[in-house]
């Protein structure tokens, strides 16, 4: 029987997020005090040493990203920025919302530490417009942090200035993609940019920018306090620390659970999520949301880590786990996912604009002519592969993930 292990959600639910004094009484903002006394380069080394990886889905080493942004120089770079990606929209994912609603201060603390490490004096939290409670809690928290002198000029007499602002999204899934988010943050339509240059080199307003997910920032105070060795003692070798898993679908206790990386799907479902609903048989789980992968019962005992899942042709992604019982149809789920991509494609690049529509046409054909399903699955794979190779941004590159895993695990149930 496994238990939850908390880093990002350590304080969640333990204090009133609208009362900074309660957070401070619990030792809040001590990590900022500690960090501001250190050399920024040492903080970056600490993050590299801790092997912290981005919790937004891609799993890129956070320390390296910090290092690149810190080292980034150009003639007209008058300002470095830090951006928090709180545009949580991946279906089945709601971890960032929980952090923002219940512990907004850990996020602010993480942002101050990261800003100090890379030398950014201006930061933005880009929150999706539908997250009205998160926005309200963050606004109160920011105001109080400013009043206490944790934000603004000369923070805690360290000489470090840092301003933090909230920006709202307005209902575009694509804006969760980092470069598109930066476009939106600049007040434009949410169209992706060509990569490279990466944000570390040319990000917001063309300046070096560090952009991380909410959960990633929430790990920073903990690492500052406990050090890299302690952090690495949790999780797997390549993916240390903890991860918030958001479990939905056919389980008895759907919800958010933070556990060490490397926990198995079986343990998550049975020990934390209360087992399968109505004792039905497990059929499939969709890991990582729409831009994720289907797995069957053969993956139940695979450690959940970025690399371990990759070996099985699956992804960890944002930590979303949509559990499907024997009564559910993977075909219907695929339809639902592909409809979603079609709706959210921005239309800037042709392979994605036409491709997402083409995939739906194929699904409609499969619905009408079930004898041709095997053939259609191959066509879907071909189209999605073409999209993955030619699309501008991760949206068009994503449909291959569920489709390929479908072929791998559920070819006969399609």
């Amino acid at each position: 029987m496994i238990k939850e292990q908390k880093i990002a959600l350590l304080n969640a639910g333990k204090y009133n997020p609208e009362r900074i004094d309660e957070y401070i009484a619990m030792g809040g903002y001590n990590k900022v005090k500690k960090a501001l006394q250190e050399n920024p380069l040492d903080i970056i080394e600490l993050l590299i040493d801790a092997k912290l990886r981005g919790r937004g889905g891609a799993g890129f080493p956070t320390g390296l990203k910090n290092k690149f942004t810190n080292e980034s120089v150009c003639e007209r770079c008058v300002q470095k920025y830090i951006v928090c990606n709180a545009d949580e929209g991946e279906p089945g994912t709601f971890k960032d919302r929980v952090i923002m609603e219940q512990d907004p201060h850990v996020l602010i603390e993480g942002l101050i530490i990261a800003a100090f490490a890379i030398g950014a004096t201006k930061g933005y939290i880009y929150v999706r417009g539908e997250y009205t409670t998160s926005i309200q809690k963050l606004r109160v928290a920011l105001k109080q942090a400013k009043e206490k002198g944790f934000l603004g000029k000369d923070i805690l007499h360290s000489g470090f200035d840092f301003e933090l602002e909230i920006k709202l999204g307005a209902g575009s899934y694509l804006c969760g993609e980092e470069l598109t988010l930066l476009e939106s943050l600049e007040g434009k339509r949410g169209y992706p940019r060509i990569k490279p240059p990466f944000p570390a080199e040319k990000g917001l307003f063309g300046m070096p920018t560090l952009i991380n997910n909410v959960e990633t920032f929430a790990h920073l105070p903990y690492i500052i306090e406990h050090g890299a060795e302690h952090y690495k003692s949790m999780g797997t070798e390549k993916s240390p620390g903890t991860k918030i898993f958001t479990i939905s679908g056919d389980v008895n206790k759907p919800g958010y659970y933070e556990a060490t990386m490397g926990v198995t799907l079986r343990h998550l479902i049975d020990d934390l999520a209360g087992g399968m609903k109505d004792n039905k048989k497990f059929k499939a789980a969709l890991l990582g949301g729409a831009a994720g992968t289907f797995v069957d019962e053969t993956v139940l005992d695979t450690p959940m880590g970025f690399d371990t899942l990759k070996e099985k042709g699956a992804v960890l992604g944002s930590g979303a786990i949509i559990v499907m019982s024997e009564e559910r149809s993977v075909f219907d789920m695929t339809c639902s996912i592909l409809e979603f991509f079609k709706h959210e494609s921005c239309g800037k690049c042709v392979p994605c604009r036409i491709g997402t529509a083409q995939l739906m046409i194929l699904m409609d054909q499969a619905k009408e002519n079930s004898s041709k399903k095997a053939q259609i699955l191959d066509q879907l794979l071909y189209e999605a592969d073409y999209m993955a190779k030619n699309s501008l941004c991760p949206l068009g590159q994503s449909p291959i993930l569920p489709i390929k895993s479908l072929k791998q695990y559920f070819q006969h149930q399609f």
């Binding site: 949580e88 929209g89 991946e90 279906p91 089945g92 994912t93 709601f94 919302r97 417009g129 539908e130 997250y131 009205t132 409670t133 920006k167 709202l168 999204g169 307005a170 209902g171 575009s172 899934y173 939106s184 943050l185 600049e186 007040g187 434009k188 339509r189 949410g190 307003f205 958001t246 479990i247 939905s248 679908g249 759907p254 919800g255 958010y256 969709l286 949301g289 729409a290 979303a320 949509i322 499907m324 559910r328 219907d332 789920m333 639902s336 996912i337 979603f340 709706h343 959210e344």
Partner: protein, 155 residues
């Protein structure tokens, strides 16, 4: 209300465009951004009307047409769909006698689809203005909408 007074706390910088559009829309009794609003924002941010129009048109939370006082955003993400999202849409459409995207003739409700609203553990869900409603079923939806309707007819 005077538009400049409404957005006094935003610097006239282009990156404030989305926040400003949100503010103007939220303060419109019909929950939409008017042509005058777009012109005003273009002037305020020293940009073109077409730029502002293009931005407002791109994002699904913004509307350039009058909407009802209550905007129902029903989650049609894969999780809500799996647990019964689609039939929930039918329940609302039948009850309000409108189609997805439509507004009731009394301008009380507008029904819009939404991508994942991040409450998948309590699926299916919907949002009405700023309030989230979870674990929906047919009876619950009818009860919620009737309550809003009754509260508004007695005023």
């Amino acid at each position: 209300m005077d538009k400049s007074a409404l957005i006094f706390d935003f610097e006239p910088a282009k990156d404030n465009m989305l926040n400003i559009l949100h503010r103007l829309q939220n303060n419109n009794p019909n929950n939409y951004i008017t042509t005058e609003d777009l012109k005003f924002v273009a002037e305020y941010l020293n940009t073109t009307y077409s730029t502002v129009y293009g931005v407002a048109k791109y994002y699904s939370m913004f509307s350039l047409k009058p909407r009802g006082e209550y905007i129902i955003r029903i989650c049609k993400s894969p999780v809500c769909n799996m647990i019964s999202g689609k039939s929930m849409i039918e329940v609302i459409e039948n009850m309000l006698e409108i189609k997805m995207g439509g507004t009731t003739s009394d301008m009380l409700f507008t029904l819009e689809p939404s991508e994942c609203l991040g409450h998948c553990a309590q699926a299916p869900v919907m949002m009405i203005n700023n309030k989230m409603y979870t674990d929906l079923n047919e009876d619950k939806i009818i009860e919620i909408l009737e309550e809003i309707r009754n509260n508004n007819s007695t005023q």
